[in-house]
């Protein structure tokens, strides 16, 4: 305590506190820099860890995989029939597939959702107790709209192959959905609400994505991001990668091109780290590969996708990966719980756990707290009492804004018109030019309005960072420019007004997202040009129950609106006379 006291003495005697107080805006920038730096050092040697199989029961690739030799003939046999089915209707396709599945004793049913039909079949494990299931999902068309010929052929051949094995302790469910997002998600939701044919709680799901009818492929891509910051247990991702590498495949994460897979240095790791933060933050908005559909209900899921068509690997090799994964998962007595649920992958076999990356998001949200302190303390209105109209008005504005944002969020769910949403936001950001000489608020109110805004966002970010670190981090970074707007009065230079408008524009949730999406090459949002990302935000909530829309509308947007209102031209600064009068 003596040391602390001495330090405090020095701080007091040097008058550091007022100095620090004066520098709060700079300190908040420094905090943001530290936060980014903390992420940037993660790919350095010594900061990350190699992956390992935590659950001993899994034993990936310990049993010999027999999906080979003449099984290839059968895959080809099914594929010959499937190639003609691309243009047939979903009902025809499902009926043919259903007849194939029934031949080897799989109980099938067709689930009809809003738009299309999902075929699924349950193979009851002969020796299991029938309370748990593993899902093999095959979307008829993959995320890019390509017909999943090889995927479906391997899927049905694997189901046939599985039915001959007596080893299963968990039921096996095969699902053929029209697409990998809304149709598959609607099936999973129905499975846990209204389906009559069920096979117990789903433990894990593997989605097969292998378009085309080539016998060979180059490498394997693994997708694992869940919705709302959920990730599959690291053990599942690990067994997928271990088995694939055991079969001699190269595994690529987040779209790393084939020629770069081999490299493993700081920059490649950083690239994958950034990509995994981005894709996890925007999962649901980005391309949904199928594994996202299973997010929730304690289901662990990944998507396996073949890439290229010239390589040395054949299609049964691709089938052996789910086969060995099924064998591994089948060994489990308990649910996946041993390994990490929160992690970032840097390379297929390297990861950082939550304790390494979480502090950076904490520091980012502290930057907003500092911005709050700055807007509250560093102005003459600090001397005004807290319990007064100067606080009451911002509190009312905050409540009204929150309610308005909620109504807005609900309205746009019904009427998804991105251009209208964009227009509203642009109008709000230039409102300081439109509304002039109206003297809306007193400067004290305007300052406190801003403090409320920053405090609100900081609280939202802090509570979000535990559940969805990537989203919290990305919102923190993208919303940060709005802490730099300044109050304006009648005699403020127009330059500052312009600056304010630019800052507000780039920190608006929707404008920022659209800019980010259209500018960034590696945002993971490719294919969503123009305003489509807004549509996607809304449909992600409707189809997939991805909360990002509400986080933006109820977390980011209210505080942005409050900041935008606060910069509308003020009355004159309160004088000491006013202060006295108030007291």
């Amino acid at each position: 305590m003596g040391l602390l006291e001495r330090v405090q003495r020095v701080i007091v005697s040097r008058g550091l506190i007022p100095k620090i107080m004066a520098q709060l805006p700079k300190i908040s920038i420094i905090f943001v820099a530290i936060s980014i730096l903390m992420i940037a050092i993660l790919p350095m040697d010594g900061q990350y860890r190699n992956t390992y199989i935590s659950e001993n029961a899994l034993m990936p690739s310990q049993a010999y995989s027999y999906f080979r030799e003449t099984e290839w003939n059968i895959v080809r046999g099914y594929r010959n029939e499937l190639v003609h089915m691309e243009n047939s209707t979903s009902r025809e396709r499902n009926q043919i597939m259903e007849s194939w599945l029934n031949e080897f004793g799989v109980k099938t049913q067709i689930y009809e959702n809003r738009d299309n039909e999902v075929l699924y079949g349950v193979f009851h494990a002969p020796r299991g107790d029938g309370t748990e299931a593993i899902v093999l999902a095959v979307p008829w068309f993959n995320v890019d709209g390509e017909f999943n010929t090889n995927g479906a052929a391997v899927g049905v051949a694997l189901a046939r192959y599985f039915s001959r094995w007596p080893v299963w302790s968990k039921n096996i469910i095969v699902v053929f959905s029209e697409n990998p997002d809304s149709a598959l998600r609607s099936w999973v939701e129905a499975y846990y609400t209204s389906l009559d044919l069920t096979g117990g709680s789903i433990e894990a799901a593997i989605v097969l994505d292998s378009p085309g009818e080539n016998d060979y492929f180059d490498y394997l891509e693994v997708y694992y991001d869940g919705l709302n910051g959920e990730l599959p247990n690291l053990d599942l991702v690990n067994i997928g990668i271990y088995i694939a590498e055991h079969e001699g495949m190269r595994v690529s994460l987040h779209g790393t091109p084939f020629d770069q897979i081999k490299e493993n240095n700081y920059w490649t790791r950083l690239k994958i780290l950034v990509a995994s933060i981005q894709s996890s933050a925007f999962s649901g908005l980005t391309k949904t590969h199928g594994n996202e559909a299973f997010s929730g209900w304690r289901i662990q899921s990944i998507t396996l996708k073949t890439k290229g068509n010239s390589g040395p690997l054949d299609i049964t090799c691709f089938g052996r990966v789910p086969e060995a994964m099924f064998r591994s998962i089948n060994n489990l007595l308990e649910k996946f719980h041993q390994s990490f649920f929160f992690y970032l992958l840097l390379a297929p076999r390297q990861f950082v756990s939550i304790s390494s990356y979480l502090p950076s998001a904490v520091i980012l949200s502290v930057a907003f707290v500092i911005a709050f302190m700055d807007s509250y303390i560093n102005n003459p209105s600090f001397a005004l009492p807290f319990f007064s109209n100067y606080t009451l008005i911002p509190a009312i504005v905050w409540t009204v804004t929150l309610v308005a944002c909620f109504i807005l969020a609900q309205l746009f769910l019904i009427l998804p018109i991105p251009s209208l949403l964009l227009l509203i936001n642009i109008v709000i950001s230039i409102s300081s030019i439109i509304i002039q000489n109206k003297k809306l608020f007193k400067p004290a109110v305007s300052n406190r309005l801003r403090s409320f805004a920053f405090l609100h966002l900081s609280l939202i970010l802090t509570s979000l960072l535990m559940v969805n670190f990537p989203l919290s981090f990305m919102i923190g970074l993208m919303a940060f420019p709005m802490t730099k707007v300044r109050s304006i009065t009648a005699n403020t230079a127009p330059q500052i007004k312009l600056e304010n408008i630019i800052l507000l524009m780039i920190s608006n949730p929707f404008i920022a997202l659209i800019i980010y999406n259209n500018v960034s090459s590696n945002s993971g949002l490719q294919g969503l040009q123009g305003l489509r990302v807004i549509n996607r935000l809304i449909s992600a909530w409707k189809d997939m129950r991805c909360w990002t829309w509400f986080v933006l509308c109820l977390g980011w947007l209210p505080s942005w609106i409050m900041v935008a209102i606060s910069v509308i031209e003020n009355e004159r600064e309160p004088t000491s006379h006013d202060v006295k009068k108030n007291e």
């Binding site: 003939n73 046999g77 029938g130 309370t131 209204s194 009559d196």
Partner: protein, 667 residues
């Protein structure tokens, strides 16, 4: 598992011990002498007997090593012959019934009756002996000790595919839900007394069958009201005094693994001990390799009220379904490896060459011996029973069946065979169209499936779908016993009519019995009578909350989930039939069990900090910095003076002491 083995061991030891204690000497002496006259005499006399008495002759013969390979040699030691006309009330039958999709149902049925006894006289009286012959004595002693009048035990595992296979064997009255199921009728003075007898019964059976039945406690036990009622009440007299009542008690252990350690004690109950007769087929490797199997033991007390005579009747049944092609393939190669290209069955109408093959469904032609499925042949008949062993095949005209006696084939008109010698028997089955089976005409009255619904760890739903495929309304009793940590909301019971016929809950459910759960003590017990209109599918759902358990309530594998036993549906109109739903796995929120340590550490730190601050605030004086500095300076001055004084004093004292010590030394 360890615990289970341990109890098993303890109980078998106890049983062994009790067997030796209870006057078995006479028994042993008889078979050592191998004297048939004595054996006959033994049978007629009213001395204590046991199952071993008759069957042990067979066992000793086979264990003597007089014939190495089964009973191909002259079956028995010439000195051991079976007395003409010597027979016991033991019957065994084997039914073989092909099912669609190349599956085969085999049903082994054993009936064992005890000799008549007078219920009013306690067997503990000296001079009173009971004679049980083929009836398992181990069971008798348990029944006697716990005043059990009826005992029903089920070990079942697998999925009965009613849509394909049709009705359950014995209309479902001889099979349980996945796991172990036990119900009994116990005579007792009060419910508490009945429960303590029930507990004894469960513990004894646990040892007898090497199963975890001892885990049955009050939180799993229910007293069924309308389900599980005995067929006729006449055969259930109250033995002791008229104040006593009969209690029907039931419990089930969902998903309890069933394995060879349960089959072996089961076979030990039979007088043939699995050494001769149809029970020679029962090999653990094959029984538990089947798609569905069920072992059941039913003991009832049948009394003739007028004559004051009672006897125990035991039905022991093993039912199993085997997928024949896989079973035959496994004989050739235990691992279902990819077939060689020439053995693939390809559709020749579709593109087909050395690289591609569109697979055909399984062949509908078949030809096999039953020994290929069971890995053994039948060794002789059960020679002590009054009726020889019976084998029947329930088949259509597309099937051929004949019995193989020492390698020679014989057929009969009714496809039933009697095994009346000590030969080697086998059954030969062949068909040109295996899809033509007798079950196709059987009508399953009701399909019921149950599933858990909902998202998250704090609440969920239970959804049961009833499908009536018949053109007549079906009335059934739905019985469900749910653990206390599923907090059922009966008010949320809702009907969802799937066929869009505007049915209301009141239209289908007639009477509801509900006994709510008590934490740790009693399960929720729900029974209702439901009538499902003809050709209708409807679903009944109910919401529940998931309780938080005490940390000690979690099982060692807490992350597996909690087993929920199957619901039992007893069809009462238009005919009797019983089905059980699938078991379920409920996942409750599971704490991270290392967390308490972190919590303790954080709490201690926080408390420490708060204490320190509070203490300082209470004890120390708050002064301004300037004052504090001044004080410190003053203190420094004082301190110096003080130190000087202390040092001076100290040197003086030390000197004194030294002097004193010197003086003392000299004194």
């Amino acid at each position: 598992m360890f615990k289970r083995n341990a109890t098993c061991l303890i109980f078998t030891t106890l049983l062994l011990f009790s067997r030796i204690c209870y006057g078995q000497e006479s028994n042993y002496s008889i078979y050592k002498n191998d004297n048939t006259e004595q054996l006959e005499e033994f049978r007629n006399s009213n001395t204590t007997s046991e199952v071993e008495s008759s069957s042990s002759t067979v066992i000793t013969a086979s264990e003597d090593g007089s014939f190495p390979e089964g009973i191909q040699e002259p079956p028995l030691d010439p000195s051991i012959t079976i007395q003409e006309g010597l027979s016991y009330p033991f019957r065994e039958k084997l039914y073989v019934k092909p099912l669609p999709n190349n599956d085969l149902l085999t049903s082994f049925q054993f009936k064992m009756n005890s000799e008549e006894f007078a219920p009013s006289i306690s067997s503990l009286n000296y001079g009173q002996y009971n004679h049980f012959t083929v009836f398992p004595k181990a069971i008798e002693s348990v029944l006697h000790r716990t005043d059990t009048r009826q005992l029903h035990l089920r070990f079942t595992r697998g999925f009965w595919d009613a849509e394909t296979w049709g009705r359950l064997p014995h209309d479902g009255f001889k099979s349980g839900g996945n796991g172990v199921e036990l119900w009994a009728i116990i005579e007792a003075e009060s419910k508490d007394n009945a429960y303590s007898k029930w507990k004894t019964l469960a513990n004894s059976l646990s040892g007898l069958f090497c199963a975890s039945i001892n885990f049955i406690d009050s939180s799993k036990t229910t007293y069924p009201v309308t389900s599980f009622q005995p067929d006729n009440d006449q055969g259930l007299p109250v033995f002791a005094n008229s104040k006593n009542q009969l209690y029907l008690i039931r419990a089930a252990l969902a998903n309890e693994p069933i394995c060879t350690e349960n089959l072996t004690p089961f076979l030990k109950l039979l007088p043939t001990k699995g050494k001769s007769g149809i029970s020679t087929f029962l090999d653990g490797h094959k029984v538990f390799d089947s798609s569905w199997h069920s072992l059941s033991v039913d003991v009832i007390t049948n009394c003739d009220v007028n004559q004051d005579k009672c006897k125990y009747e035991t039905d022991a049944v093993v039912d199993m379904v085997t997928h024949v092609p896989y079973s035959l393939a496994r004989n050739k190669n235990p691992i279902p490896k990819p077939l060689p290209a020439e053995q693939l069955r390809c559709d020749t109408n579709k593109p087909y060459d050395a690289f591609q093959c569109f697979p055909l469904p399984e062949s509908t032609e078949t030809e096999f011996d039953l020994s290929q499925i069971f890995g053994k042949t039948i060794k002789g008949s059960s020679m002590m029973s009054d009726i020889p062993s019976h084998i029947c095949a329930i088949i259509t005209s597309k099937w051929d069946v004949s019995i193989k006696v020492n390698g020679e084939l014989f057929g009969t008109d009714d496809n039933c065979f009697e095994l009346d010698g000590m030969d080697e028997y086998d059954l030969y089955l062949a068909s040109s169209d295996t899809s033509d089976v007798t079950t196709l005409n059987e009508e399953v009255p009701l399909h019921v499936s149950r599933s858990l619904t909902g998202y998250g760890q704090d609440h969920g739903g239970l959804r049961t779908v009833f499908q009536n495929p018949t053109p007549m309304p079906i009335t059934a009793i739905y019985f469900e016993s749910l653990p206390w940590y599923m907090r059922l909301y009966l008010s949320s019971l809702k009907l969802e009519s799937i066929d869009s016929s505007n049915l209301q809950l009141e239209d289908v459910i007639d009477s509801v019995y509900y006994n709510s759960a008590i934490d740790h003590k009693r399960p929720s017990h729900l029974e209702y009578t439901i009538t499902i209109p003809a050709n209708t599918t409807l679903a009944i759902s109910c919401q529940f909350d998931k309780a938080l358990l005490h940390f000690a309530d979690y099982p060692p594998d807490a992350n597996h989930g909690f087993e929920i036993e199957s619901a039992v549906i007893t069809v009462i109109k238009p005919f009797k039939y019983q089905i059980r739903t699938e078991t379920l796995l409920l996942s409750l929120s599971t704490p991270d069990f290392s967390m308490p340590y972190n919590v303790i550490i954080i709490t201690s730190t926080v408390i420490g900090l708060i204490y320190g601050t509070l203490y300082n605030l209470l004890v120390k004086k708050v002064v301004r910095v300037e004052q504090a500095d001044k004080l410190i300076e003053q203190q420094a001055g004082l301190k110096k003076k003080l130190v000087a004084v202390v040092l001076k004093l100290k040197s003086k004292v030390v000197d004194r002491i030294k002097q004193k010590k010197v003086i003392n030394f000299y004194i």
